[in-house]
């Protein structure tokens, strides 16, 4: 019982049971498929879009829009455009006060406890 003689297909020697694989097929299998998988993963990760300044790390600059949260935004005096649907949007970016430099001098420069009976605490980290 002898082994079947090797055949030659397109100049590549192969056995009777295993087909010859060309260089192109090899490259497709070992390079293109992994590359496609990597591209798919990248695509899924960045699909949602990147946010600038994703995470706060103490000591590093953190870019973001200032926000002021109230559970009931209508309680901010002078907040414009507040009506029923505002309450449905969850934490709402209430109108930020347009504090100007000139305005600041009236109360701000006196520092701690300008209004006397205000309480609270300060801390730094």
């Amino acid at each position: 019982m002898g082994r079947p003689p090797p055949r030659a297909v397109g100049g590549v020697t192969c056995s009777a049971t295993v087909n010859a694989v060309s260089v192109l097929e090899t490259v497709l299998f070992f390079v293109a498929i992994p590359a496609a998988v990597v591209a798919l993963v990248f695509g899924l990760v960045y699909m949602g879009g990147t946010r600038p300044g994703k995470r706060y790390r103490p000591g590093r600059p953190f870019e973001f829009t200032p926000v002021w949260f109230l559970s009931a935004p209508e309680r901010l005096s002078g907040a414009s455009g507040v009506d029923g649907h505002a309450a449905l949007t969850g934490p709402r970016h209430a109108e930020l006060p347009a504090g100007t430099a000139g305005e600041k001098n009236s109360a701000g420069d006196t520092g701690v406890a300008a209004q006397g009976d205000l309480g609270g605490a300060s801390d730094r980290w």
Partner: protein
């Protein structure tokens, strides 16, 4: 209400939403904050609010100015956080101060600052609010 009003209002709302999305928090964190604020308000009948952003120097003065812009400053508790300046201010109004004493505020501030120094802004604010509300309920 005219169609123009509706459009501009819708645009305002969208702009607000966009601004919140470019704020310092992710959507789940925003939801947690909202819940914390709502619970704190409901359980104490004080008004809690949180400002996250730059504060002008002097920081305390600016925080107090923001506090005075609330509708009912006497019954309000304002938490101001400036991540870039690494500064935290808690301002309580006249009435609120009786419920949440300065010592309680300092205690909450310490725990918030500890969270912030670990990089957890939202967690610090949520736990700080819970602590303040807890003191207000008891006080």
């Amino acid at each position: 209400m005219t169609a123009g009003d509706t459009t501009s209002r819708a645009e305002d709302l969208l702009a607000d939403r966009a601004a919140v999305l470019y704020g310092p928090f992710t959507t789940p964190q925003l939801l947690r904050l909202d819940e914390a604020l709502r619970l704190a308000d409901q359980s104490t009948d004080l008004v809690f609010s949180v400002y996250v952003g730059e504060l002008d120097d002097p920081v305390r003065g600016h925080a107090e100015k923001l506090h005075s812009q609330l509708a009912d400053p006497d019954r309000s508790v304002l938490v101001c956080v400036s991540p870039n300046q690494r500064a935290l201010e808690i301002v309580t109004g006249t009435e609120a101060r009786k419920r949440v004493q300065d010592r309680d505020c300092k205690l909450a501030a310490l725990s918030m600052a500890a969270s912030f120094s670990g990089g957890d802004l939202a967690g610090g604010i949520v736990s700080g609010l819970a602590q303040l509300a807890d003191h207000a309920r008891r006080g």
